[in-house]
Each structure stands twice: as C-alpha cells, then as structure tokens.
C-alpha cells in the first residue's frame, strides 16, 4: 500500500516543483468537412470541432481535481488547413476566414490555442499550400488563438528551399502585421523539418492525416522536479546523474499516462500518445536551463552545454519510454528562450548566443525556439537560419523547428514582453553577413544518402 513518504513526495513535486500536465490536446480530423462552398466548409468545421470538444475543458478540470494535479492547458489540433480548404479557398482572404472560424470555436469551447493552420510542403507546394502560407500574416494578425506551422523538409524528401525562402518573407511580414503587439504573431508560427503528426505542443500541433478521426495526446512537464532530484546528487558521477534523471522522468511520465487514459475514457476518444517533454515556463524553478546549471554549468551556453543537454534529453526519453504505453510527439527537452528564466539569464549574461543555441538543437527535441531577433533582420537571413536548422533535422533524422520573432522597431539590447506562458526575451544579435545568393537559388536540397533504406 502507498505510504506517507510516497504521498508526500508526489505532493511536493506538484506544490513546490511545478509538476504539471502541460497540455491535453484533442486532435480532430477535418477531412470529412471538406466542401467546395466556403461558407458550408466553415460551418462544417465549426460544427465538428464544437461537437468534439465541448466537454474538453470540463473533462480537464475534473481530472485535475480528482488527482490534485494542475492541467495547465486544454488545446485542439486539426488537420492541416491547406488540405481542408484547398477546394473552397480561392484567395488569401478565403483562407484567413477559416482561421477566424477556428478562433471563434476556440473561444466558444474555452481552449487557449488551436493548432493546424498548417501546410505540409516538405517536397513541393500545391497552389492551396502556397495560398495558405501567403495568408498566414493576415490569419495570425486577425485571430488570437490560432497557431500556424509549416513543414519544410524531411529526411525522406530533402528540404524545399522555395518554401524556406518564402517562409523567411512570411515570418517578417507576420512580424510587421502584428507590430503593435511586439510582433506577437511570430510566436504562434513555427516551421519544421520532420514534423510529427501527433505533437500536442503549440505552436506546432496539427492533426496528421495518418491519425484517427479524433485522438487525445498529452504533454507532461516537470523541469523543476528533475532539478530538485539532481540537487540531491551534486558531485556524484555521470552514472548516478543519469539514473536520477531517468527515474524522475519515469515518475513524471506516469502522471501523463494516467491523465491521458482518464481523458480518453471521459471523452470517449482514443488515447494517442504521451509526449514526455521537459517544457519550461517563465515561472521561477520551471527551467530547463537550471537543470543544465545543476548538472554543472555556470550558465546554459557555457562549454559543455551541448553534452549536458544531450545526456538530459536521452535520459528523459529512456525514463519516459517505459512509463507510457505510447510515446510520441517531440519527446525530449525544449529550449525556448523567452519561456525559460534560466535561458533569459544566460542570454543577458552573454553566455548564450544564437550559434550555441543552434548547436544545442542538434541534441534536444526541437530547435531554435522563441528567440527574439532585431526587427530589421533581412528575410533572406531568416531563411538562412531556417535552412541551417532544417539541415540539422534532415541529416540527423530528427524533428527540428524554428520559431524566431523579428521584433519590429526593436534592436539588440532591448527586451520584448509577450506575456503569460510565452514570457519575455532579450533581443539577440544575428550574424550580419548575407546569405541572399544562397537562398535565392530556388528548388530543393535532395534527401541525404542515408535516407535510402528501402
């Protein structure tokens, strides 16, 4: 039987170390909503999402109360809209009006984000894909809760450099369209290489075409729990360090598995995956950078950071895999800058640069995330950053992403405040040398040799 020490340990994790379930994300397929009439399509979309998710928030609250564990976000992901709206949408405005429908239903059912305003263009772009991408600035500036993502490459297909070039321009345009809110639109826009179909985390969540009609995916979090556990083994060798991370990750993931099963039962929707990521928040003590410091670095970004992150990421996966029957999504350590107080401190202290962050993305679960750069950064430079990140993902057969925010009207040394879970960030300097001729070549980069495994 459970004893008082085990109960106290769990409750200590929840109360003092910020253990929480970061998100329950309900994935909904919109493929059966397709219609050539735009108004009918929007009505179908609204109806299907509302019907599927009207009890989502209530279910989340009930689970949270039953087990005494906070469930921070309830969210929805849908089929990439480029696939759903292709027949009905003839202009950018048509696509953006679907975003408004998504926003409306998100408000109605009480979720804080809805993801899936997306296009999958890793090899080529259809005209619908291109229209959707071109409509992103308008869609993100006219909605509050819609998140957008674009998959630009994969290990199997290579990198679509035409789309990479276009996305550099689109990110800058989105920043311009939302400049009165410090270019907040870009915080809801992410580009991927090897995007997973079942990622529950925003901004990159969408409901893949290989998924069920509806599915529940859960993202757990607990950087504070790992940090506290590690503070008890200071000075011990790597074996002890790794074992401690693994055991802690196991415990954290078990909670996610429990919540996922309960939510699945309550909503009558199949359980998809648990994403066992360490996702930080701006709250003190909820930081991945702090774990790196606990492992033995003065600041995140110091020499040794990439090795420490590699070890952390791997142990989190090893501990989590046995704790859940299905693991998926991104699963690993997230290193968003603005959402992690330790990262912000490291940037402010001059310990962490964009180049070091890029190196870190080779071994963490995602990529360049929530990084504020000067508003006068050129579109081709952003495309260059994206291309670098996509190449890392493609060659290493992992998911990589870029979510940078060129803050219009601000420069290096200034700070930008996004509020809430998105946090705040010091604006980081970007390499000022040009890559324009490279980006302008056009076409695609072929898949690497090790992708031919057939």
């Amino acid at each position: 039987m459970i004893n008082i020490f085990e109960v106290a340990e769990t409750n200590q994790m929840i109360e003092k170390e910020n253990l929480d379930v970061r998100t329950i994300t309900l994935g909904i397929s919109l493929l059966d909503c397709v219609d050539s009439d735009l108004e009918k399509l929007k009505k179908n979309i609204y109806g299907k999402i509302y019907e599927a998710s009207k009890d989502l928030v209530k279910a989340g609250e009930k689970i949270s109360r039953d087990f005494g564990i906070p469930i921070v976000n309830k969210r929805i992901s849908v089929t990439p809209i480029a696939l759903v709206g292709g027949v009905a949408c003839k202009s950018k405005e048509d696509f953006a009006s679907i975003a408004e429908t998504l926003d409306e239903v998100a408000h109605k059912v009480g979720v804080n984000f809805i993801g899936g305003y997306s296009a999958l263009v890793s090899k080529g772009m259809t005209s619908a894909d291109r229209l959707l991408i071109e409509s992103i600035p308008l869609a993100l500036s006219s909605t509050e809760r819609v998140c957008s993502s674009v998959n630009l490459g994969s290990t199997k297909t290579g990198i679509n450099m035409d789309a990479v070039k276009l996305m550099g321009e689109i990110i800058l345009q989105t920043a311009e369209y939302t400049k009165k809110d410090d270019s907040l639109g870009c915080a809801k826009l992410v580009v991927f290489c090897n995007a997973p179909d079942d990622n529950p985390f925003m901004a990159g969540a969408f409901h893949g075409v290989t998924e069920n009609d509806k599915v529940i995916n859960v993202g757990v979090s607990g950087p504070g729990v790992v940090k506290t556990a590690l503070s008890k083994v200071r000075g011990e060798n790597f074996e002890v360090l790794c074992e401690t991370i693994k055991k802690t990750a196991f415990k954290v993931t078990r909670v996610g598995q429990l919540v996922a099963q309960e939510a699945s039962k309550m909503l009558g929707v199949p359980f998809g995956i648990v994403d066992l990521s360490l996702a930080p928040t701006p709250a003190i003590g909820d930081s991945v950078a702090d774990i790196l410091c606990e492992i033995g670095l003065e600041y995140a970004g110091a020499p040794g950071t990439t090795a420490a992150l590699a070890l952390l990421n791997d142990q989190v996966k090893k501990g989590g895999v046995m704790a859940s029957s299905y693991v998926g999504g991104l699963s690993g350590a997230f290193i968003p800058v603005s959402e992690d107080q330790g990262m912000i401190d490291a940037v402010t202290a001059g310990a962490l640069t964009l180049e070091k962050l890029e190196a870190m993305t080779c071994v963490c679960s995602v990529g360049l995330d929530m990084i504020a750069v000067p508003g006068d950064t050129k579109a081709s430079t952003i495309s260059g950053m994206i291309a670098d990140e996509m190449a890392i993902g493609m060659v290493n057969q992992k998911t990589t992403a870029v979510r940078v925010i060129p803050v219009i009207g601000k420069g290096v040394g200034e700070t930008v405040e996004f509020g809430g879970l998105l946090g705040y960030a010091p604006i980081m300097p970007v390499n000022r040398f040009s890559c324009e001729a490279f980006v302008n070549r056009g076409g695609r980069i072929p898949a690497p040799i090790h992708s031919f495994k057939n």
């Binding site: 039987m1 459970i2 004893n3 008082i4 085990e6 109960v7 106290a8 340990e9 769990t10 409750n11 009930k62 109360r65 039953d66 087990f67 005494g68 564990i69 415990k251 078990r254 909670v255 598995q257 429990l258």
Partner: protein
C-alpha cells in the same frame, strides 16, 4: 474498490484528527489506514479512505475538506489513489 488519499499538512494544534474524522464520519467515508508524523513542528497526516458509500460528489468533498482545512489552519488535500500508485508502483 477505488480508494482516496487525504493528506493534512500544517502547524500542529489540538483536535486536527478529531475534526477531520468527524467530517468523514458524517459523510459515511470509511477510514482504511491512517499514519501521522510531526516533521519540524509540522503536522503531517495521510489517510487512505473508501468513499463508496458517501452520497456527495468527489468535487464537493474536495471543496468541503478545503474549507474545513482553512477553518483549522491546515491544508487538506483529497486525491484519488491512482496518481500515487502510478507514480510509485510499476
């Protein structure tokens, strides 16, 4: 049988157990196990209870125990057992 864990943490004072147990008895909640320690002057108690016979909803019990805790000056949490089981047992 689904079990529930009730934890009480706070500054030690006279009658904490009495008040909590009275509330549980009034609501037909059966106590299966109880353990208690004092850590650095703080009262720490854990009860394993069976709520099958109570007529109230789980949420209601949680709220009422919360306000009882406020009255006594301690924190009372009420959670279903699975979260601890899942975390600490393979």
């Amino acid at each position: 049988m689904k079990k529930t864990i009730i934890t009480v943490v706070g500054k030690d004072t006279v009658g904490i157990i009495a008040k909590v147990c009275t509330y549980l008895a009034q609501n037909s909640i059966n106590i299966l196990d109880i353990s208690q320690t004092i850590v650095q002057g703080y009262f720490n108690m854990m009860m394993i209870v069976d709520m099958n016979r109570t007529e109230k909803h789980f949420g209601e019990i949680v709220d009422e125990l919360n306000s009882l805790g406020e009255e006594i000056g301690v924190i009372i949490k009420c959670q279903k057992e699975e979260i601890f089981d899942k975390m600490h047992r393979i």
